[in-house]
Point group: D2
Chain length 451, copies 4
Amino acid sequence: MFAIYGHPEAARLTFYGLYALQHRGQQSAGIVVTDGEHFMEKKAMGLVSEAFQEEDFSRLKGHIACGHVRYATSKNYQFADIQPFSVRYADHSFCLAYTGELLNAEKLRVQLEKEGSIFQTASHAELIMHLLVRHLHLGFEEGLIAALKQVQGAYCMVLMTEDTLVVARDPRGFQPLCLGKLGDSYIVASETCALDLMAGVYLRDVEPGEILFIGKNGLRSLKPFAPARHAHCIFEFVYFARPDSDVFGRNVYLARKRQGATLARENPEVTGEFVMSFPDSGNYPALGFSAQSKIPFEMAMIRNHYVGRTFIQPTQDMRDFGVKVKLNPVRNLVRGKEVIVVDDSIVRGTTISARVQRIRQAGASKIHALIACPPCRYPCYYGVDFSTKGELIASTHSVEEIRRALDLDSLHYLSLEGLLNSVDGSTESGYCTACFSGNYPLLPEEEPEKI
Amino acid sequence: MFAIYGHPEAARLTFYGLYALQHRGQQSAGIVVTDGEHFMEKKAMGLVSEAFQEEDFSRLKGHIACGHVRYATSKNYQFADIQPFSVRYADHSFCLAYTGELLNAEKLRVQLEKEGSIFQTASHAELIMHLLVRHLHLGFEEGLIAALKQVQGAYCMVLMTEDTLVVARDPRGFQPLCLGKLGDSYIVASETCALDLMAGVYLRDVEPGEILFIGKNGLRSLKPFAPARHAHCIFEFVYFARPDSDVFGRNVYLARKRQGATLARENPEVTGEFVMSFPDSGNYPALGFSAQSKIPFEMAMIRNHYVGRTFIQPTQDMRDFGVKVKLNPVRNLVRGKEVIVVDDSIVRGTTISARVQRIRQAGASKIHALIACPPCRYPCYYGVDFSTKGELIASTHSVEEIRRALDLDSLHYLSLEGLLNSVDGSTESGYCTACFSGNYPLLPEEEPEKI
Amino acid sequence: MFAIYGHPEAARLTFYGLYALQHRGQQSAGIVVTDGEHFMEKKAMGLVSEAFQEEDFSRLKGHIACGHVRYATSKNYQFADIQPFSVRYADHSFCLAYTGELLNAEKLRVQLEKEGSIFQTASHAELIMHLLVRHLHLGFEEGLIAALKQVQGAYCMVLMTEDTLVVARDPRGFQPLCLGKLGDSYIVASETCALDLMAGVYLRDVEPGEILFIGKNGLRSLKPFAPARHAHCIFEFVYFARPDSDVFGRNVYLARKRQGATLARENPEVTGEFVMSFPDSGNYPALGFSAQSKIPFEMAMIRNHYVGRTFIQPTQDMRDFGVKVKLNPVRNLVRGKEVIVVDDSIVRGTTISARVQRIRQAGASKIHALIACPPCRYPCYYGVDFSTKGELIASTHSVEEIRRALDLDSLHYLSLEGLLNSVDGSTESGYCTACFSGNYPLLPEEEPEKI
Amino acid sequence: MFAIYGHPEAARLTFYGLYALQHRGQQSAGIVVTDGEHFMEKKAMGLVSEAFQEEDFSRLKGHIACGHVRYATSKNYQFADIQPFSVRYADHSFCLAYTGELLNAEKLRVQLEKEGSIFQTASHAELIMHLLVRHLHLGFEEGLIAALKQVQGAYCMVLMTEDTLVVARDPRGFQPLCLGKLGDSYIVASETCALDLMAGVYLRDVEPGEILFIGKNGLRSLKPFAPARHAHCIFEFVYFARPDSDVFGRNVYLARKRQGATLARENPEVTGEFVMSFPDSGNYPALGFSAQSKIPFEMAMIRNHYVGRTFIQPTQDMRDFGVKVKLNPVRNLVRGKEVIVVDDSIVRGTTISARVQRIRQAGASKIHALIACPPCRYPCYYGVDFSTKGELIASTHSVEEIRRALDLDSLHYLSLEGLLNSVDGSTESGYCTACFSGNYPLLPEEEPEKI
């Protein structure tokens, strides 16, 4: 999610911002821009680089824009679901870019339908728009606050009117959202790497529970919600965020290296001729492991950078082709060696299984795997859609069973304390660790605040 | 270049082979297959993954196939130039996949035109086909030998007839070409990584000056040319080949690591807080440098893996966007640090200049660059088209001038001896070092052998 | 608009139906199908033949389907506006295909917004869906009746639920809508030519003010509205409908021939060497004129059938290229002749002007134009969007002024009585002639019926 | 085929010229332009309107251009076969656009291959280029004459050099080729309708056996061949040419009308309630038949103008869908009537069979078919590829057998004398009637002239 206020090339910069944030969603991309009076938009399925052409930007004129890339969470995802989501209401246009997951969406939807609302999508963005217009009689600002007080869950959102940008983050701050400037323009982005790309300056994070109004008179902040214990998603540090970003005030690269170092400290008995990773997400903890253990780091899996979206099926005798075409081990390096593989996480277990197999075929004598987080045992209710990757192998298998299933000589996970310490230097901090611990900071049952 | 003899899915495997060799040419891709009687082909501009669709392979039926990816060497490159190059002659079909550069092409062409030949392309493949048919009265085998005795230069080629695969490599062996098997099928490929992808077995290199005939009765080898001193392209180890390949009998990854280690030994005075590279080609010498110097390795430049072929121009105030969108430094790591950057080579100097600038902007206090080869001072006549990358900066500038132009605190190149030693453990070996040394193993003036 | 109930290939037949009705809208096409439980849809900009591919139909499985082609009425038309329009409401799905124009849409919209509805499009289809859900507490049937009693204007609509097809036509019957059968399946289509294509049988027209419920127990008809004087659009016979269709119970081809014959009777003094038309819409009245006047008919303008959607601009000296490329006069026929041109109608006057010019350039000595309807002087409020064709030339110019502007030797319009008589054999009949007469059967001011 | 000399927008005008000539070939389109020094080209499969985009013309700069549309004659047709055909020879570029068929092609090809020529296509254009360069030692003009003296058959060709346009037509003049001017620019086109489109002036036909050199010093004509009896293709008047064109000095529209009138005179006993045709090619003889017989003409088959290139298959119970979707009879007109159908020709018989069936299904009581040419009994050796339409039904069936196969009440063909008289007012004239009579003006056996 990216938004900018007050730049003559707002849509173009939003394009670049989405480009930098592409890793957060590859299924669709959309940009809406306003020139102070009218909205113009472009939405398309696929990658940012495919969704937009130069000619789009001659049409997308305006000084305020917001954009969204979408992470696939449903097979039924269709064009109407692409965000930002625009509506017309009583001579006004509103546009919403939203990430997260609402826990009381179904209940709210049923109630809204009882009152006559109709829905064209299953998206929570549409739900929030309905709540907003139901409260607009209180005025825009009060109406928005009232609407947001009704929802429970994880969200970061940008609401654009013809001439204003409104930014909101849920009181627990599940997902990252940062505020920056580029010259006189304000920027809001999911990660700081989007700021870097355009040489913007990071100001601060949008705070949990904060609503920002950005308009002609500058920036105004409200904190209308009851304070809540923070619950930053720890998985951002494990897998989601780009290593060159800072999220929740911490640099991701350094945190990942510390995870690898902690893994080495927690598993001093693990030894081998070298440490390797599966590029790219495993690289950083592997470097940390190597630095701590003094076991040399090798880039023993070579990535093919030209892998496209081909659907050409291999012949019967070529299994695991998807993995093979992407990564190839350096045989001369691996053959006859005891190797230590560091990876970021294991969700379903299928990807790592095929990759381990490739190292085995290249002749490794022993393979030890070290995982830079604890076993993922519990589903996420706040927007990380593990389920699209299939069932969580650790929810039904012990570590020893996983080790055997993956044909590993040994398998070691980072402890939860080790992970928290690596990220934050403390285990007291306000992170959501539900996927590892089952401790959910917010559950579907809880009642929304009264307005 | 890839070819396979004797597999029911010959075209499909050629597709995968080209996929693995995509780094050797991105401008066009072509596959020709024969079922023993007829040729079927598909050629297209662009990447292998874009050029072929699943439905193509229902048409490309046959058990012998060859494929080609083309490295852009001319702006006038057009559809007719896409290889493999097919002709019909006297009820026969021939098809040629060719890489390299002929030194006496112009002279041969003028002579052929005098004798009535017409050309539809500027490609040397068409020239060789003309020479072949002019000598077919000697029989196919003798005719081919006579034709190849007329050409001077660097070449690897696969000539396909309706039922035979003929492979040839020039007597000096400028470019790599390996022979492998997949079950009972023979495979010929530019690099061994193509064999790995399909779990094929490496047999040996096609030898310099060797002609292989692969047909119903198996494989037959001829060496009809006068022996010549080998002149393997040393630049394959610097930049061209994939690190997981073996070329000229040596593993590329290990050679690059040794280059980095030699750089460290040759420059013991260079120091810094960490060693980094520009991914991916600089990674391997950087690892070698780090291992030798004991200075830690960091992956301080993060690659955006979703960079497409966008031509959307940034705004005026966003310079070097092409670099920025691809690589972003980890600011927290670089800020205030003295850093050592290891890169594979400097050709024109523009790419590295923009990248160094990015590190500087991220706050590095000092930047030392170490280059894993000597200065590139001389053009290549054998197929490495430096000129498409622009002029060679080192041909007109001293190292100190380059250092200043790139805004570096120090700049160090690997010595030629160091490079040869790193690759081969000796400086006596048969490599072409012309781009560094100006010692050309073969010059345009030389007369071709008499037939 | 096309819908079918009870056929295993419902979507495919809807595709063919839309194909036959393509002349009613070229801007977008959409099909929604239900298998009794779920909706599946495909929508796209452009022609039916471009919008759908074979693979779409492997997905669009079900036995009930409706489809829509859309006539451009707005530059701001975008993807979300493509019909049929689907919504989800309280565990139900509804889908609406709609043609026509509501006169009280703005008033209804403002009121709905006051009650909390939000709109994603400017379409009246969305408006009707909102009205429906607001009344669903009365039950589906009563709710639909209540909703439709609120709207004023011209409409034909198909409302699809998971297992039912509901068809409705406004009480005045502005637009045509017919009912047919294909085996046991019911079909609803804007024109009978859609039935012909699939060898379906015409049963009868859907009656003005009728609501049809088609479901498991067959067909049920309701007529819940107060009767109103019929107001069938006379322009269907002039231009809109396909000549092989029957609309409002009359064959279009024969009606157009009678218009031409009446033109001849009303203008006995007009003479020339032959009668010609601008294909194809002028062909039929021209044939009638020729038959009545005994002046021979010639096809003196030849149509280029390969005209695509090219936007390649001609050079400066090639004016009226759009007309030239489509139609070319047979010079040998026209040169030196006094010719009678019969055309269906003049709206803005620009198309006929360029065409007359072409005949003039081909050497015609005199050109008489006879138009098969009266001057179009008044805008249509019921869905014929003259305004996309620009201003009505006859609303601001006399016939003599138009004759001079078009460089004609004489210009003659059919009288309104002549038109009505040609269509219906009577001038008493229930047609809307507002665009010619200014007598609007329904005006925006009128209040909707009370529920 | 179209070419223009001396216009700043040569490529663009060639585009329009091909547009007007699209009916002569739909499989591929190509344009080559020269600015006096270099050739630039664009070729593509498909229609002219699809093959070229606006941006192509910013690249196709020059004042001389030639273009070609290709009629499919082979399933193996591929990109390399698209004309115009360009070659480089001894620092010169040549480009050839060619239509027709050479009778001694195979013999010439074998001989050229013996002398060392290789072929990349099966096209006669490549063959002619080889002959040309073999004779260039005589100089360009003499070489071209010598080359053309070697070939036997039907041809019209445009040969473009960097700065000259050479036009040639075979001595018998099988195919039409006209010469015109647009301002100071010379134009050559297959039919005069291409001149009309750009308001060019028709000068005269390129004469049979004439070679025109168009260059800086204007136009020069040579007639180097022995005179031969003319053999203009009579089928141009039956089907091929556009009715608004003049070919071989006669207007096509008027000739077709006369064919219809002659049909009426030859078959006075045929009667019915009206005369109809299958649009568009049958329209003109039908008009002539109606005018002569005084039986009224009706346009009883309505054409769907939006038929695209859809490959969506109908359901089992929808046969002849290809015909149905294109043409629909007006039922009210046909039902219960005895109808006379006039069509241009019957080749394979399948198309007319499906169309007759449609009229039968619409309720016609009797159907009489009158064909505006004699039975097509013999293959064409000069470029009209009947064989792509399948076998000639009249070569194996009597008229009575065809009548029964087509389910007609009567079937009448125009006599050969009637056809010749209709076209030319005489039966003495120089037309090729081989497809009807079997009298071939030139047979494969004949020896080429000695040079």
